[in-house]
């Protein structure tokens, strides 16, 4: 992210300002000067600044804190043919995101300060938005020894995770939750018991039986979440559960929160939008881990979002090329991209009445920022001018050929949706506009 060469001033007139950090939902003007939020009020008189301020009529639009996706795979270093920091962050700002957390399962793995620094350097020069590296829990994601959390934190890592793989060894998970507290790092869990999910290709149930694909039972996720909740209680470490997909997981997390355990959780749009019936045609675009589940699970995920059990919506953006995806279902890679579709899918929940506009924005900006302890996700006066303008009524059909991402593995291609980011400001600089 280059320092602001075009960081003039912006005045957004007459928009619906949604700022979950202060529970604000009202019509107002927003003034941005020198990369900061300068003022928010109705009928702002901007006096002397008006000369150099660009005026944008935001009537009918939402003005929200820049969205933050806390679960993204950028693939750089190592798999640049799938995505790069440049292409991934370009996709992010097109989707309304001003900050993204990138997972460490690159090649080489982000398990040492040098890789974290490399990612941040690349992001500085080639990135369109802020990048927050998540480092590995264990060296080389092997689940044997802790990575060097102190050096990683000092290099700029904001959390640790072995995402893509579970931490099988309970003692290692205990140590990670303990040691991470030394450096105030969040521990993000990919919750899966591989002995229960082993060889599974999709949700276990009626459809897996019918089409003869090995199933992954809900319990494969829930067993691990239950373990990690107990370990979080034991250690007092900050635990975040990634990509929650089952009704039972929502139940476990809800009850843990009510007992005061320090846990937060996210789900991804595909877990509240897609069900396993879609796999009947064997299209690997629907193959993802954890797998898309049943309608009953979808209903529970929505309840979890509504009552706050699930704090964040994150895309788990996982780019793959045709080399990994154009194969027999069994051999195709897990994962789907989501940076450019998360927002319209979250807005479907708003129109369904599952969550309010303010809740949706909280789960995609303020909450992930709070979980990661980064000073964004707010429109407070003086805060960095990371903000997103959303047209909630814009109707269009999702077309992967228009994506900024290098990959096309998106199950929502062809879906008619409503609402998208039309302007994204990062640090007061116009990073995207349509």
């Amino acid at each position: 992210m280059q320092p602001h060469e075009n960081s003039g001033a912006f005045i957004f007139r007459n928009g619906r300002v949604l700022d979950p950090s202060r529970t604000i939902d009202r019509i107002a003007d927003v003034l941005v000067v020198d990369g900061r939020i300068a003022e928010i009020n109705a009928g702002l008189d901007i006096g002397g600044i008006s000369e150099r301020a660009r005026t944008i009529d935001a009537t009918g639009k939402w003005i929200v804190p820049g969205l933050i996706d806390m679960h993204v795979h950028l693939r750089e270093p190592g798999e640049e043919y799938k995505e790069t920091i440049a292409s991934g962050t370009a996709a992010a700002v097109a989707g309304g995101f001003t900050g993204i957390a990138c997972m460490p399962n690159t090649h080489p793995v982000n398990d040492c300060a040098a890789i974290t620094q490399f990612i941040l350097e690349r992001a500085k020069y080639y990135g369109s938005c802020r990048v927050f590296p998540v480092a590995a829990i264990s060296r080389n994601l092997e689940g044997n020894n802790l990575a060097e959390y102190g050096e990683l934190r000092d290099a700029g890592a904001i959390a640790v995770s072995d995402d893509g793989r579970p931490v099988v060894n309970a003692l290692l998970m205990r140590r990670a939750l303990e040691y991470a507290q030394t450096f105030d790092l969040l521990v993000i869990a990919h919750s899966e018991d591989p002995t229960l999910s082993g060889g599974g290709l999709m949700n276990e149930g009626e459809i897996s039986t019918r089409i003869g694909l090995r199933g992954i039972p809900n319990a494969a996720e829930e067993v691990m979440i239950a373990r990690d909740l107990l370990l979080a209680e034991l250690t007092g470490g900050r635990l975040h559960i990634a990509h929650v997909s089952t009704a039972g997981s929502v139940h476990l997390i809800r009850s843990a929160k009510s007992r005061g355990i320090s846990v937060t959780a996210e789900t991804a749009p595909h877990y509240f939008t897609l069900n396993d019936e879609l796999i009947s045609g064997f299209d690997p675009v629907y193959k993802v881990n954890p797998p898309i589940r049943s309608l009953k699970d979808i209903a529970a995920i929505k309840e979890g979002l509504a009552d706050g059990t699930l704090d964040a919506i994150a895309s788990d953006h996982a780019p793959h090329s045709v080399v990994e995806k154009d194969l027999e279902f069994e051999f195709a890679a897990n994962g789907m991209i989501g940076l450019e579709t998360s927002l319209p899918l979250a807005l479907e929940l708003v129109r369904e009445g599952v969550i309010s506009p303010l809740q949706a924005i909280a789960k995609m900006s303020f909450n992930p920022a709070a979980i990661l302890k980064i000073p964004f996700g707010t429109l407070r006066k003086g805060a960095p001018a990371d903000l997103t303008i959303i047209d909630p009524d814009l109707e269009y059909v999702i077309d992967v050929n228009r994506f900024r991402s290098k990959s096309r593995n998106c199950p929502f291609h062809g879906r008619a949706v409503k609402g998208r980011a039309i302007m994204t400001l990062v640090d007061g600089r116009l990073a995207f506009s349509e």
């Binding site: 009626e206 039986t209 019918r210 089409i211 003869g212 694909l213 194969l327 027999e328 279902f329 069994e330």
Partner: protein, 305 residues
């Protein structure tokens, strides 16, 4: 009604009238296999490629004989000799073979859905000769033909499928087909080998072999692969055989006209005792004979398209 599909991928997709049409045609073609000169010119000039990514003796030979008796030219590509070992993807293999203008691909693959992916990507016809744990439609059709020959009907019959239902494409195709044709299907085996929610496919579930054998008109015995012990699905083949193996003692209380079927290959002494496999109720070799006729019918219907 005839049969106007490009592909035959599964029994679940078929209408009752289509199943009837295939079975009637198979019955009429069966006579060719009894002649001294077992060949007709029907598919002369047509090209059939057998694409077998999983070991198979019976099914591949059966399809090959069926195609040759109809005068089609056939080519076999087996898993071990195929370019797949060189790292070529299934779709690339398909595109290369398609460039040689075949009319029909007969596909066997260990991955469920592989024939479906091929069918979407070629103008040639695709016959699913068994995909993973999903479907094996020609097997279900030959099973139905065999039952009809002995029982003169399918409607109202009690069919019990015994054994490893979980991993069986034969069971799945038969559940669909027999249900469509009015038979009542019960699946029976240890809980670990019965897949979840199988009843939603239209099968009743029983864990008590004696109870379901009493009313059975047909008993389909499935092969039990020996690896199932290593997968913690069974404690031992001995215990399996004791409770679910079909022995003369277990048949003592069955109907006198019960049919014993098995899709092969048989593990003698595990899921079926030699006395039963070779005994008076067994129609196992009739199944193999009918397999050629059913596959002739399928190749005829698809290649003539």
């Amino acid at each position: 009604m005839g049969f106007n599909r490009k592909d035959l991928l599964g029994i679940r997709d078929l209408e009752v009238s289509e199943i009837e049409h295939i079975l009637e045609l198979a019955q009429s073609l069966k006579e060719i296999n009894m002649r001294a000169i077992k060949k007709v010119p029907t598919l002369r000039g047509k090209t059939v490629i057998h694409l077998f990514y999983e070991p198979s003796t019976r099914t591949r030979t059966s399809f090959d004989i069926a195609a040759k008796r109809l005068s089609a030219d056939t080519y076999s590509i087996a898993g071990s000799t195929s370019s797949m070992v060189k790292g070529e993807t299934l779709l690339d293999t398909l595109k290369n073979l398609e460039a040689m203008r075949p009319d029909v691909f007969v596909v066997r693959h260990s991955a469920s859905g592989a024939p479906h992916m091929l069918a979407r990507n070629t103008d040639a016809s695709v016959i699913n000769a068994g995909d993973g744990m999903h479907e094996h439609p020609s097997q279900a059709l030959l099973d139905m033909l065999t039952i009809i020959e002995h029982k003169k009907r399918l409607d109202g019959l009690n069919v019990v499928i015994v054994g490893d239902i979980f991993h069986s494409r034969v069971a799945r195709s038969n559940i669909w087909g027999l249900n469509k044709m009015g038979a009542k299907v019960t699946v029976c085996g240890p809980t670990t080998l019965i897949p979840p929610k199988i009843e939603t496919m239209g099968a009743q579930v029983s864990y008590k072999l004696d109870q379901c054998l009493a009313d059975a008109d047909v008993i389909m015995v499935l092969r039990l692969q020996k690896e199932r012990q290593q997968q913690m699905l069974l404690p031992s083949l001995r215990e399996y055989s004791t409770y679910f193996g079909i022995s003369p003692q277990k048949l003592a209380k069955t109907r006198p006209d019960v049919l014993i079927m098995h899709p092969g290959p048989i593990n003698r002494g595990v899921e079926i005792s030699p006395e039963v496999a070779d005994g008076p109720y067994s129609v196992i070799l009739d199944q193999v004979t009918n397999g050629v006729a059913v596959r002739m019918a399928l190749l005829y219907l698809l290649a003539q398209r």
